[in-house]
Amino acid sequence: MADLNQTQRELAPEEPRPDGQPGDRELVERAQQGDGPAFAMLVERHQRQLYRLALRMTGSEADAQEVLQEAFLNAYQKLPLFRGEAQFSSWLYRIAANSALMRLRRKRRAPDTLAEQPLELAGPRFSAEGYLEPASSSDWSQRADEKMMSGELGDAINKAVAELPDDYRTVFLLKDVDGLSNEDIANALALTVPAVKSRLHRARLALREKLGEFFDGAK
């Protein structure tokens, strides 16, 4: 959880920071006046989060690298147009997300948005009255810690995540692994916040089912 909190602190540094470093707003104003080192500070501050976004969207480190180059250069060129109505980080994520989508589209005719993909997701099973079926309530959580270092578990997680539809996987990774806010994810992926919440929850339910199958098989 500490990691997520740290990430959130990195996400919204519009105002001056407790460490004495200038906030994004001041750095943007300086960069707009041609201050290269100020732009470099913005890059240093946001590159890790942008990298995660690009990596999650493209699934490729090489593509993520090119998305980052394109996004930061694009942001620099458009900086005179940035008026500060939105957070700089949100503006930057949107530029990077567009760049990643363009790249995906070029490579495999990806849909215009991440929301257009078919959905086949596992989830818990309920009785007609709405009660959980026994198969959906096996408690493997206590065994999760002792299995943490298992290579088999890591493989199972990677496989389960890879099997999620693209848009669900991206939302899940950005939220639960990388710690972006629902609002930043919605902005980056051109989704509504309720759509982000819905995809996130359904992705978690599907992954929980897969992990349940893994632990049941490992008894």
Partner: protein, 105 residues
């Protein structure tokens, strides 16, 4: 006065917001009342939380240092005054070349 939660399905539907602490207090109370009488849902909450934790630990990733370095080098070609990791010459235009795109590094 909020309506009680009688069925597990409603409990599961609210779990995402519940574990993030953004469920309205009266719904959170109704959910906790349901949990107090429903062992299968308690198990469900535990495994739902464990799913997030396991995936976060397995999939967390950091930006490679080499990539940070190559990004700096790349931007140093277009942004005057941008500190580079290698000696590069910045373009004279304050906004860089309009038709320049990213290059493989």
């Amino acid at each position: 006065m909020t309506s009680p939660i009688h069925h597990c399905k409603e409990c599961v539907d609210l779990l995402g917001e519940y574990i993030e602490g953004v469920l309205p207090p009266e719904r959170a109370k109704a959910l906790e009342d349901h949990l107090s009488t429903c062992p299968p849902c308690i198990t469900f909450v535990r495994t739902y939380r464990a799913t997030r934790k396991l995936c976060r630990n397995a999939l967390a990733t950091e930006m490679p240092k080499e990539l940070m370095s190559s990004l700096s080098t790349f931007l140093g070609k277009f942004v005057p005054g941008f500190p580079c990791t290698k000696s590069e010459t910045a373009a004279p235009s304050p906004v860089g070349p309009a038709d320049s795109g990213p290059k493989k590094v």
